[in-house]
């Protein structure tokens, strides 16, 4: 099964601090692949309305663009983990988000990490990609 997924972490000041294409197959259309970030950016509009209506962190799917769905997880610090995906495995996505959240919290605990700055840790990147392979 071909899956496309683009994962992005948006800091609370709306700046993307981590992005990764975690799709498992080659893309057929190059242009569409780049659209992912545009779609995720546009979905922030929905997230900002939705995040305050529920106490849950996992907002499930908030937006759909053709076959692609945007799922969002909002942390307590209003950092948003956004995943653009075409698979329907909601449990897997939820687990993925929870694991990434844990990773993100570990990053925050790093005293040298400035909150809101870009996550450049190679460890974080490797782990996120591993989690994506595992759950998505």
């Amino acid at each position: 099964m071909t899956t496309t997924a683009c994962f992005i972490v948006v800091s609370k000041n709306d700046i993307p601090i981590y992005e990764a294409e975690v799709g498992s197959t080659v893309r057929q259309k190059q242009e569409q692949a780049h659209q992912h970030q545009f779609i995720l950016h546009a979905a922030l509009d929905l997230v900002q309305d939705l995040a305050w209506t529920t106490s849950a962190m996992f907002l499930r799917s908030v937006d759909r663009f053709n076959d692609l769905t945007v799922s969002v997880y909002v942390t307590a610090g209003h950092t948003r983990l956004m995943l653009l995906h075409d698979s329907r495995n909601e449990d897997g996505i939820k687990n993925f988000f929870q694991e990434v959240h844990e990773l993100y919290v570990k990053t925050l605990l790093n005293p040298l990490y400035l909150i809101g700055s870009r996550i450049t840790s190679a460890h974080f990147d490797t782990r996120v990609r591993a989690l994506a392979r595992k759950f998505l």
């Binding site: 000041n13 294409e21 190059q30 529920t54 907002l59 908030v62 700055s117």
Partner: protein, 1149 residues
């Protein structure tokens, strides 16, 4: 949606045919049309026109013994036919007189009826005969009616009488007719539906086309009946069969087959969506739509005509959006779905038309891409695809096309081959300009999203529009839209997205020939924080190229060398960078002075720091630094190398001769002789971070070498005034005393500067805070000023001192002089070096207060055009000169009985007021104590009545008993002075004002010839004057001698008109013997005086206490006991001898 035929877009309406009596057709059809539900009418003026109702000969394929495969799914004109040509009811209208009159007419009517019957034979169309009566009176006979009914072969209730003689009858007849028609229509469409349903149920057709057609027909008949649920059910069924057929049918060539199926599917889906949306089932409609999209998305067909698929696909979104929009207009916010829950799996946007408009635009773009590819492949292979045939027209079945071939007069319709069809479709598609359609769709979506406050989504739509304009080479519009998009991504810091947008902008600017913009966009791109993440190569970033470091370097090189290539233009490119410009990341300039202030003409050092985030090192050929004082501008022409992400610090020294603020305004950097970046200088302390680079991982550096200066450094410095070479002295002698005019001498001596335009400002301020010397409310009252500046005396040109305190006009045009209660301005003449000028400030205190006197001298030192100010201040306390007090007494050994004193003893709560006896000498002792630190001279002390001494009515007499003996009494600090006055009231009055004690005094100073006399006032209280009923006096010699008898008289005078009884008693004393009554009573006649006489012989010498005397008035219950002083006498042991001659003084007893 507008492309659909009218009959598809609107719900079907039942049709009724009227024939005969044409004059009635209009009122009847108008009435039927306004009914609910409406009924359309097919009006035939006479019976000969009824042939339009005739059926065509082609029969249902299934009714034939060997069914031939159908040539299409739905006939194009079937729906229209049922709405305009096939009535449910045919009504024949006859005039009553036509029937009942002439037999020829009767025959004609019978023939007409026969004709009608034969026309509708085989259909379930109902026949109704209407007999039109102009008057109710002309009743037809039962026989005629029965005959007519028999002829027409109809039920009795299908024969209607139509009376039109008056309005109410007409209305009643119309109502009757309408209800009959409605009932018959319902029956007709129900029967038609049932008939077709029975066909389906009876034998399952080998052709799915027919199944679809029948289902569609049943649904349409159900719609005629307004049975929406059944219509929906059969539409769904038709849709299902159609989808199954897509894989099996082989009737047509594959491309055309798919086109037909999709066209039918589109129409059926449109019907379903309309029914769902108008039924208020938005959720179901959306779900149905998504299913529809999902079902057909992959049904692309052959690659050479994939553009047809995407066009069709885009149309699905567009039509659904329009449907949603029209329904939302009729029923706004009928749904407020709780998003994110399992029962509502749709996002908020999926209920908004804008979402579908945007997707429609996206797919239309897809179509355009495919079309371009198809066109390219067609030109590549010209022989493969045949030329488009000339006359292609829609065939009789929906979704099919056919070719018209004319051979002479005969026109034949031939089917198309797929190759021909493809050529035809390509030619058709190329005729249209898709990009305007795409832009319009994006625009609708964008407007809708921004009105909902979804700015980011609107931004995405704007981006789509901008890309379309770019693709259609409209760079002006494109650049404008890209600019708004770039602003959004810049604000939110989405660098990769901004990178792409800037790439487009850069290209637009290049194509439009905007050199400045091109350079600005290029530099901004080069300074963006984008780094390779590994998959840039696979992503199309548009004209920007991959977002990598190498690409950034390349862009920087291009931008910096751009103008060199076009060296025909001598004008270098100028870029302005202000604190909100995105180009701050290209070049950021911080300027920090090392000190906060500097003396004039001395050197101030400053650091100019440059920071660039461009990926490559670049050289600044010339750096110009500009200040608000142009004399301080400087430039550096040594080539400077600015390295990426590292502050370049330059320290320079400036010297300013002008006092005030010296501020660095701009720093211009000239690069490669063709680019000038003009940066607004920023203070490191107030500098904002670069939003795009703030969160990047990079080493933090400071703009200045000293990190503290980076936090506090300012781009401006205060240049001080030159040091004043003038002495300003303020002297004062001791504290000021309340009431006097206190003078403060001010001395101005020039010690180096020539004073031009000097101005002395004086300000009095309350030293205990509050600032003002009066409360604002009290400004109107002149007494309210506790301290006031009276005038400034001692000026050379000023001869008179009688200036008003509130003088505010200028006495001379060049001589400023303003004095108010606490503020004064006076001009100082031109003083050369060594000259001096002085004046006195005259201030009066009305109350004791501590005051600060601020004096400031501002002047021009001559050669330089700037002000120099000198400030001095002095704290002066205003003090009260005296502490004044007073005491009332009676003459010695004389006691008038005052009733008010007795009363105040009984009720002590009443207001205590001093009571004086009428026409008696009352003694007032006024004491004044010097409470200052300086000796004072008392000039006089007197009691002045309140209304002045020359009052007409004398209320009391004042006599000074003892006071100031000579002209001036000097008394030192702490000394007390007493004045004794006798007051004899002449009028009995409960409240008498005794006036004020005026004490005139001067300062005891030796250097002043004529000291100013100051009057300090002390007001005496209000007293009560009353006539005493009894006055007791004791007469006794001043001294006694041991053994020598002396007389003592007690005199009690009765001032009333009543007989007064008194008791008196004398106590015993061991020092005296006396004769007279110890205890006795006596009565005093009115106006008389009682004299009690006693003889006393003293026994011992010294100060002796006389026996205690008590006098009691029986009427007033008042007891008089003389004071101890009054009852004391000095007893000499022997007669004293005074040597008067020796002393030369007089003995006063």
């Amino acid at each position: 949606m507008e492309d659909y035929p009218e009959e598809l877009r609107t719900p079907p309406v039942s049709l009724v045919c009227l024939t005969g009596c044409p004059e009635l057709h209009h009122p009847i059809s108008a009435f039927l049309h306004s009914e609910q539900p409406p009924i359309n009418t097919l009006a035939l003026p006479d019976f000969s026109k009824a042939s339009v109702l005739a059926r065509k000969k082609n029969r249902d394929p299934l009714s034939q013994p060997t069914p031939a495969p159908p040539s299409g799914i739905l006939k194009r004109d079937w729906l229209l036919k049922h709405r305009t040509r096939v009535p449910a009811v045919v009504a024949a209208l006859f005039r009553a007189d036509q029937i009942s009159g002439d037999p020829a007419q009767w025959l004609q009517a019978c023939t007409d009826l026969e004709n009608l019957k034969s026309l509708i034979h085989g259909r379930s169309t109902r026949l109704v005969v209407v007999l039109v009566q102009t008057q109710a009176a002309e009743e037809l006979s039962e026989d005629v009616m029965a005959a007519l009914r028999k002829r027409a072969e109809i039920d009795s209730k299908h024969l209607v009488e139509f009376v039109q003689n008056d309005a109410s009858d007409l209305r009643q007849s119309l109502n009757k007719l309408a209800s009959l028609f409605a009932e018959l229509c319902l029956t007709y469409y129900k029967e038609e539906g049932r008939r077709i349903r029975s066909i389906i149920e009876k034998k399952s057709s080998p052709f799915p086309e027919l199944n679809i057609r029948y289902c569609f027909k049943i649904a349409i008949y159900a719609e005629f009946r307004r049975d929406w649920s059944e219509a929906l059910k059969f539409y769904e069924e038709a849709y299902r069969v159609l989808r199954e057929m897509a894989n099996t049918s082989t009737r047509l060539p594959p491309i055309q087959r798919l086109v037909e199926i999709k066209t039918i599917a589109e129409q059926i889906h449109f019907k379903i969506s309309t029914l769902l949306l108008h039924g208020g089932k938005i959720m179901e409609a959306v779900a149905r739509f998504l299913k529809h999209i999902k079902t057909y998305k992959r049904l692309v067909g052959l690659p050479e005509v994939d553009f047809l698929h995407w066009e069709w696909f885009s149309r699905q979104f567009l039509v659904f959006a329009e449907l949603l929009e029209t329904t939302a207009a009729s029923a706004p916010s009928s749904q407020s779905p709780q998003f994110g829950t399992s029962e509502s799996p749709f996002s908020e946007w999926e209920f908004q038309p804008a979402y579908y408009y945007q997707l429609a635009a996206n797919y239309l773009r897809e179509k355009r891409c495919c079309l371009e590819q198809s066109s390219v492949s067609k030109t590549d292979l010209p022989t493969k695809i045949t030329e488009a045939p000339d006359s292609v027209m829609p065939s009789t079945h929906i979704g099919q096309s056919a070719r018209l071939v004319e051979e002479g007069d005969i026109v034949t319709v031939l089917p198309l081959s797929d190759a021909e069809y493809v050529a035809y479709a390509l030619a058709e598609a190329e005729r249209f300009q898709d990009c305007y359609e795409i832009i319009a769709l994006y625009k609708r979506a964008q407007e809708s999203f921004s009105s909902h406050g979804s700015q980011r989504m609107a931004c995405l739509c704007t981006l789509g529009m901008a890309r379309e304009y770019y693709a259609s080479d409209d760079f002006t519009n494109s650049k404008q839209l890209f600019d708004t998009v770039a602003a959004m991504y810049r604000r939110e810091g989405w660098a990769p997205l901004l990178w792409e947008v800037l790439g487009y902008l850069r290209d637009c600017a290049k194509r439009l020939g905007l050199t400045n913009e091109y350079t600005a966009y290029s530099l901004e791109m080069a300074a963006l924080p984008v780094f390779s993440t590994g998959f840039e190569e696979t992503i199309d970033f548009g004209p920007a190229g991959p977002a990598t470091l190498s690409r950034r370097e390349e862009i920087q090189r291009e931008a910096l060398n751009f103008a060199v290539e076009t060296d025909g233009d001598p004008e270098p490119v100028g870029l302005d960078v202000d604190p909100v410009s995105p180009l701050r990341s290209v070049l950021l300039v911080a300027v920090a002075f090392h000190e906060q202030s500097v003396k004039p003409d001395s050197v101030a050092s400053l650091t100019v720091s440059l920071l660039s985030h461009l990926p490559l090192l670049f050289k600044v050929d010339l750096l110009e630094v500009e200040f608000n004082q142009p004399a301080c501008n400087f430039s550096m022409s040594i080539p400077l190398e600015v390295s990426p992400n590292k502050w370049l610090r330059l320290t320079h020294e400036v010297k300013s001769g002008q006092s005030g603020k010296l501020e660095c305004l701009t720093v211009k950097a000239k690069i490669n002789n063709n680019l000038i970046i003009c940066c607004r200088a920023e203070s490191p302390a107030l500098m904002e971070d670069l939003t795009s680079w703030k969160y990047e991982n990079q080493r933090e550096t400071y703009p200045t070498l000293d990190p503290a200066l980076s936090l506090s450094g300012q781009k401006s410095i205060q240049v001080d005034e030159p040091n004043p070479l003038v002495d300003l002295t303020l002297n004062s002698i001791g504290p000021a005393l309340v009431g006097e005019v206190f003078q403060i001498p001010v001395l101005v001596v020039s010690t180096g500067h020539v004073i031009h335009g000097g101005e002395l400002k004086i300000n009095l301020v309350d030293a205990r805070g509050g600032g003002m010397l009066m409360s604002p409310r009290e400004t109107d009252e002149s007494d309210a000023h506790h301290v006031e500046l009276l005038s400034i005396s001692g000026l050379p040109e000023e001869k008179e001192d009688d200036l008003n305190t509130d003088l505010s006009e200028e006495t001379k045009s060049d001589n400023i002089r303003k004095i108010q209660y606490s503020f004064g301005v006076v001009s100082v003449p031109v003083l050369k070096e060594g000259e001096s000028w002085c004046c006195n400030l005259e201030i009066r205190w009305h109350r004791p207060k501590l005051v600060m006197v601020y004096v400031s001298l501002g002047y021009n030192p001559g050669d330089v055009d700037q002000r120099v100010n000198v400030h001095r201040s002095l704290q002066i306390e205003g003090k009260v000169p005296f502490f004044t007090n007073h005491r009332f007494m009676m003459p010695f050994r004389r006691e008038p009985l005052l009733i008010s004193n007795i009363r105040s003893l009984i009720s002590p709560l009443e207001e205590k007021k001093v009571s004086l006896a009428l026409k008696e000498n009352n003694i007032v002792i006024v004491s004044a104590k010097n409470c200052t630190d300086v000796p004072l001279n008392l000039v006089s002390m007197k009691i002045v009545p309140e209304g002045g001494t020359n009052s007409n009515e004398k209320l009391f007499l004042v006599q000074e008993i003892s006071g100031i003996s000579n002209k001036c009494t000097r008394f030192v600090p702490g000394e007390e002075f007493r004045g004794v006055f006798s007051i004899t009231p002449l009028v009995a009055k409960s409240s008498l004002s005794l006036g004020v004690v005026c004490v005139e005094w001067t300062r005891d100073s030796k250097n002043q010839d004529q000291p100013e006399t100051v009057t300090t006032k002390h007001s005496l209280p209000q007293v009560c004057v009353e006539e005493p009923p009894l006055v007791a006096a004791i007469e006794c010699p001043p001294f006694a001698i041991v053994g020598d008898p002396f007389s003592l008289y007690i005199k009690v005078k009765n001032n009333t008109n009543l007989l007064q009884e008194i008791k008196y008693s004398l106590g015993d004393s061991q020092n005296f013997v006396f004769c007279g009554a110890h205890v006795h009573t006596a009565s005093i006649l009115p106006g008389k005086e009682l004299v009690l006489s006693y003889k006393f012989v003293p026994f011992s010498a010294g100060v002796q206490q006389l026996p205690r005397i008590t006098i009691t008035s029986v009427r007033y219950s008042a007891q008089l006991t003389p004071s101890i002083a009054a009852g004391t006498i000095f007893v000499y042991p022997a007669e004293p001898k005074f040597s008067l001659e020796k002393n030369g003084s007089e003995l006063v007893v």
